[in-house]
Amino acid sequence: MRFLMMTTDTGADQGPPDEAMQIEMGRFIEEMSKSGALLATGGLEPGGARITSSGGKVTVTDGPFAEAKEAVVGFALVETRTREEAIELSKRFYQIVGDGAGVIKQVFGPEDPMPGA
């Protein structure tokens, strides 16, 4: 099962991450890659472009946007056997980074019934 774990902006002003935390995070990411759980990960730019399509017209608005809170700021695509395993990995992530918030969503794969199918 694949899960997309997204960390969202909590609006809190976080200073630069300290070195010890970064080392620990590096080790955690390495361990997750080696175990085959981590397929891809990355951080996201704060702004970005917003695209809306309405009545056949596509509009592109460049950020930054006023409502930064709850915007996705980072992601990890993981492959685990159960949802609980993905949640366990996520818990370990937050034990390292400290305060924060995120969302975990299953990414449907070949073995999963497609919604509405």
Partner: protein, 420 residues
């Protein structure tokens, strides 16, 4: 049936941590069977305590700490017993109790690699190696292994008990083999992982989810091994092969579960992420710069298919030459048969048929439906319709897969109306 929250968490923690805990404890007690029992004791303690106390912040470390305590108890008890025997007057040399080697984060990966090699030791039967690997490295329960291999739980339990005893009786050391032994031992490990993968891969999708899950499990083991032994090209070769083969899972069965041959698959359904990972693993293998082994070669062949945007773009000449090298490195009738297909595509059906015909008396292919199926295909392309039809009919008789039988009979029937 959904288990309660804490139990689901414990399951998840166990599956994520089992290999490391068992490996760490094996470092202490030098016996993977005993290490697994001690780890199971720790799991039982968690099942008793966590529903009351809550799940600890670092559940893996908690399990390891409990396991370590049990291991130390066990070692001390054994030392006391040995000491008593000495006092009774058995003429033994007095020794200071040996230092207990305690696992730590620094060495845990070495321990997991030792566990892989020990669980896949050639002293064990293939079935026993598979069961031990899934149990100790995958953290699978006995009933899950039984379901995955369509056998009964007591059979698997027996197999595991016997395997542990065999390892212990044979005094198999808890170590990564070095020297001339290493290559053979590594190929035993790779064989076990690929066997697990194929057990899942050949199961029809949707037949039983646990079986298709085996592909996932094997992939995970392959990726783990690539992380633990990054200097071995064949380890990356196997990982690459499995990633690329797994990329086709969605495309390889049709809507009613019938198998879709590689060349007829909708390539849009191939999982690009897995293909990409497969290529990356193959590159890592090539960078090491040794002559390619069987897994690297098979992965390279799979990569040729993955690279072709459409079936007709396939570089058959390249595939045919890779099969030729493979036939030199790891000769087998199945490789020859695949080579016949590739040569038939690259250099014409006549050349392919020569290779396929040479396999007719091969005892290990007797009863194997793909031989007549391949010959039927080559004969049909040469316009030898009657012979082709007979081959397809024969192949249909031999296959045990119902949808496949239908495809073969359809092909035979499609050749039926051609006048002599």
């Amino acid at each position: 049936m959904r288990r309660s929250g804490v139990h689901a968490t414990i399951d998840a923690v166990w599956r994520l941590e089992a290999a490391r805990i068992i490996a760490g404890l094996a470092r202490m007690v030098h016996d993977i069977g005993l290490a697994e029992e001690l780890a199971q004791d720790a799991l039982v303690a968690a099942l008793e305590q966590w529903p009351e106390s809550g799940v600890p912040d670092n559940p893996g470390a908690w399990l390891m700490a409990v396991g370590k305590r049990r291991a130390i108890d066990r070692i001390r008890r054994r030392q006391r017993l040995e000491h008593k025997l000495e006092e009774i007057g058995r003429d033994q040399e007095t020794q200071a109790p040996p230092e207990i080697d305690v696992p730590d984060d620094e060495h845990i990966e070495d321990d997991v690699l030792r566990l892989v090699f020990t669980a896949c030791h050639p002293v064990l039967s293939t079935q026993a190696r598979v069961a031990l690997t899934l149990r100790m490295l995958g953290g699978l329960a006995t009933d899950e292994i039984a379901r995955a291999f369509l056998t009964s739980e007591p059979t698997v339990a027996q197999r595991i008990v016997r395997a542990k005893r065999t390892l212990s009786d044979a005094g198999v050391p808890f170590e990564v083999p070095e020297g001339p032994d290493r290559a053979a031992r590594l190929s035993s490990v790779l064989e076990v992982i690929y066997l697990i993968f194929n057990e899942g891969y050949t199961a029809t999708a949707g037949e039983d989810w646990v079986r298709t899950d085996l592909c996932q499990e094997a992939l995970r083991l392959g990726r783990t091994l690539a992380g633990l032994a990054p200097g071995e090209p064949e380890v990356h070769g196997l990982a690459a092969l499995m990633e690329i083969q797994a990329s086709r899972i969605r495309a390889r069965t049709g809507p009613s579960g019938e198998p879709v041959p590689l060349l007829d698959q909708d390539r849009g359904l191939w999982d690009r992420l897995l293909i990409h990972r497969g290529f990356a693993a193959l590159l890592r293998a090539k960078k090491i710069g040794e002559p390619p082994g069987p897994y690297v070669l098979q992965a390279a062949i799979a990569a040729c298919h993955a690279q072709a945007p459409a079936a007709e773009d396939t570089d058959w000449a390249q595939i045919a030459s890779l099969y030729e090298i493979l036939a030199g490195v790891a000769p087998s009738p199945i490789v020859e048969l695949n080579r016949a297909v590739a040569v038939g595509m690259a250099h014409g059906p006549e050349r392919g048929l020569e290779l396929a015909d040479a396999l007719v008396d091969e005892p290990s292919l007797r009863g194997y439906h793909l031989l007549p199926s391949v010959r039927g295909d080559l004969l049909a392309r040469l316009g030898r319709t009657d012979e082709a039809r007979a081959q397809f009919e024969n192949a249909a008789k031999l296959t045990r897969n119902e949808p496949e039988r239908k495809i073969l009979l359809d092909r035979a029937a499609s050749l039926g109306d051609v006048p002599r």
